[in-house]
Symmetry: C2
Subunit: 422 residues, 2 copies
């Protein structure tokens, strides 16, 4: 989208191909998963966004592969879309450390709207089933929610689920006390949010504990089963009964990276996570007109590291490429390389609690939370969505209610023998 926008005054004819008909603002997806917002509040139809930009045609289609000899993209209906310039920005997906087939059905991740409504369904159904069962052991297992991965998504999910069970659901049940739910956050490393400065990670850990989250640091997930998980901590293995496991751990690059590499040949390098190596202009080796950006690109820095898979990198790369292509079309290709301007990072932990880091400047607490709120409202596409989110946040700040707590969809939920038909 940033690339298309930067091409707005160009003579270039743009085809924006996406499997979905909308842009999704992923950073707020956890709020859909916990019933605070509706999917449409954080999504905007692509056609509506680019309605006025006449040089772009939006096509809702999947991509099967590439034909580099013909310079074309092969769509999923086998039709071909020829190109002069190709920008690939298909991001990343979940990665279950080689256990995708077994673990994915048991521990949904949080990348799409369907993921979010599925997580919402499982979470809420667990509480419903707990209200109904007479078996104390099953009730305890139903009221145990395990989140795997202590990065921003895991932390935000854990924080919201605590708010949900401690405050939103208060007085809503008759047989159970929802605030007795155990929210367990499993993290492999020593700390949650371990990419932040130590003082911020500590603040986040403190806040999470205050909310009621159990932090299991230095803990490795060994196994996920329908009714329990096995973890390992300090060489000891431990079983935890649960019917709700949420995945916020590994990601891997979209499979189109490999398809691009296959169609070009061995000059294109993929890293361990499946990301495509690009040069300083985000171009693929040997092709000055084929670019990869965002989570799918491995953009190397002078110190040997690569740029992180975060939204600002993708957006800045997109805008950079839009300008580069616009100028190239006009006849003079710029030689300047892409430079990432790191404005900082932020994560929220719960009501009035967040951490913000920008260069050497760090902030925690209420002010950080307000900054988080402001920035997230700002980055939402469309004015209407900003207003709807702002209203819902204000309202749930006052009432602690979350109205989007709907159990929808027809997929089977695994919550113990008696509840398999739910």
């Amino acid at each position: 989208m940033a690339c298309v926008r930067a091409l707005r005054s160009s003579e270039a004819e743009i085809k924006l191909v996406d499997r979905r008909n909308f842009h999704l603002f992923q950073p707020l997806l956890y709020q859909v998963a916990t019933g605070g917002l509706s999917p449409a509040n954080i999504a905007a139809p692509l056609r509506s966004i680019f309605k006025k930009q006449k040089n772009v045609q939006v096509l809702m289609a999947g991509v099967d592969g590439f034909d580099m000899a013909k310079r074309s993209v092969v769509l999923d209906d086998k039709s071909e879309l020829p190109f002069d310039y190709l920008v690939l920005a298909t991001g990343s997906t979940h990665h279950y450390f080689g256990r995708d087939a077994d673990w994915e059905p048991l521990a949904p991740g949080l990348k799409t709207i369907e993921d979010a409504t599925e997580i919402r369904r499982r979470l809420l159904t667990a509480f419903e089933a707990a209200e109904e069962t007479d078996d104390p052991a099953m009730r305890a297992a139903l009221l145990t929610i395990v989140i795997v991965g202590g990065g921003p998504t895991g932390v935000e999910l854990a924080g919201s689920i605590c708010e949900l069970s401690r405050h939103t659901m208060k007085n809503e049940f008759r047989a159970i006390d929802p605030s007795s739910a155990r929210i367990v956050l499993i993290e492999n490393s020593k700390m949650v949010l371990d990419r932040y400065h130590g003082s911020l990670s500590e603040a986040a850990a403190r806040d999470l504990k205050m909310l009621g989250v159990e932090l299991w640091n230095e803990t490795r997930l060994m196994e996920i089963r329908p009714d329990h998980v096995i973890v390992s901590h300090a060489g000891e293995s431990k079983r935890l009964d649960t019917y709700t496991v949420l995945w916020a751990a590994g990601v891997k690059a979209s499979s189109l990276g490999k398809k691009l590499a296959d169609s070009i040949g061995p000059t294109v390098q993929l890293d361990r996570g499946g990301r495509v190596a690009v040069d300083s202009q985000c171009a693929v080796a040997g092709y000055s007109n084929v670019f990869v950006v965002g989570d799918l690109a491995a953009f190397s820095l002078a110190d040997g590291t690569t740029l992180p898979g975060v939204a600002p990198v993708a957006m800045q790369q997109g805008a950079y490429l839009g300008n580069l292509i616009a100028k190239t079309v006009k006849g003079s290709r710029p030689t300047s390389p892409f430079k990432y301007w790191d404005k900082g990072n932020m994560a929220t932990i719960g009501r009035s609690r967040a951490i913000v880091e920008s260069g050497k400047w760090r902030m925690t607490g209420q002010l950080a939370w307000l900054a988080w709120l402001f920035i997230h409202i700002l980055y939402l596409a469309r004015f209407e969505n900003r207003m709807l989110v702002l209203f819902q946040w204000s309202w749930s700040y006052i009432t602690r209610n979350r109205t989007a707590r709907l159990i929808t969809g027809k997929t089977k939920v695994i919550t113990g023998k008696t509840k398999e038909t739910l």
Copy 2:
């Protein structure tokens, strides 16, 4: 819900059993189907609604049947819920005139949130597929939307789909003109909204035509296939190519009516539509403590007709029964029969157009539309939803945009050979 509310000060211990965890305001479901509102805007979690009413326990469960000897309801996990009083209010579902198995997958109806998002998905996908195809015949078929049934739901759907294609989607496509879409409303009788006064039906028909809806009155649907429908008008049969057929025709009573009749025996009568005959106190023959209300009940009037299957009947019956049970529990069962107070009917046709009928008083046009708007906002559960809907309506009134136009879900959509994998 009306019954539970009326029991708020009673000593009765109430179990509210529902398959879903939320109350759905069905009259606005067509706005979810056409991308104007989000599901959560017209739904409210039952637990949240009855949070403060301590004598009610909400149970999310399906009902398998009844054991009248034991006076208990058998839930879908085979557990039994004993009762002193039973109020059955499970409403109605779609009815495809004996063609359920063939037609239901091809022509979704509009009763649940999943129905609404499925219709939204099919509608929007048809326009997306039309933008991509090069075949003019297929494009025309993709841009033909057929709605079966000219009652309030059919009329409201047709009106909104016209607005969507004529206004909301304007300038959003590059290869097609969405306003060229044909919206065909098929109605068996002489007129749409034929239960209203003739002058109102005529006003509605005029408004629909002005919006661009093709009214095919006195037309019978003979066949639905994946890529066309066959209709019959004045003895002649006609084929219409389309990939999008929406069902707004027949309804039949929930299957629990039959289950109740089976468990009681032949004293309980079911009418042709599967509705349970009830006496003047909404009780089932032979059981003064078993009641059926709403769409599932056949409540006979002095003139031999039965009360219509509309929301006000159900709500008034619920409130009546709540009072009756409260008094009976206290020791004195009232003898007064249920009396329906018909406040009137209303239907909206599109932007600034509606019809309202109350006794001999009739209204059309902008004022009727404002009345419709006001009443529908008022009947929404929860303040938050009222505000969210009001804001979205105002915004889309000004901008003609509809932001909830998301294609979600994974079910296969039938839109021609090239699009089967969508």
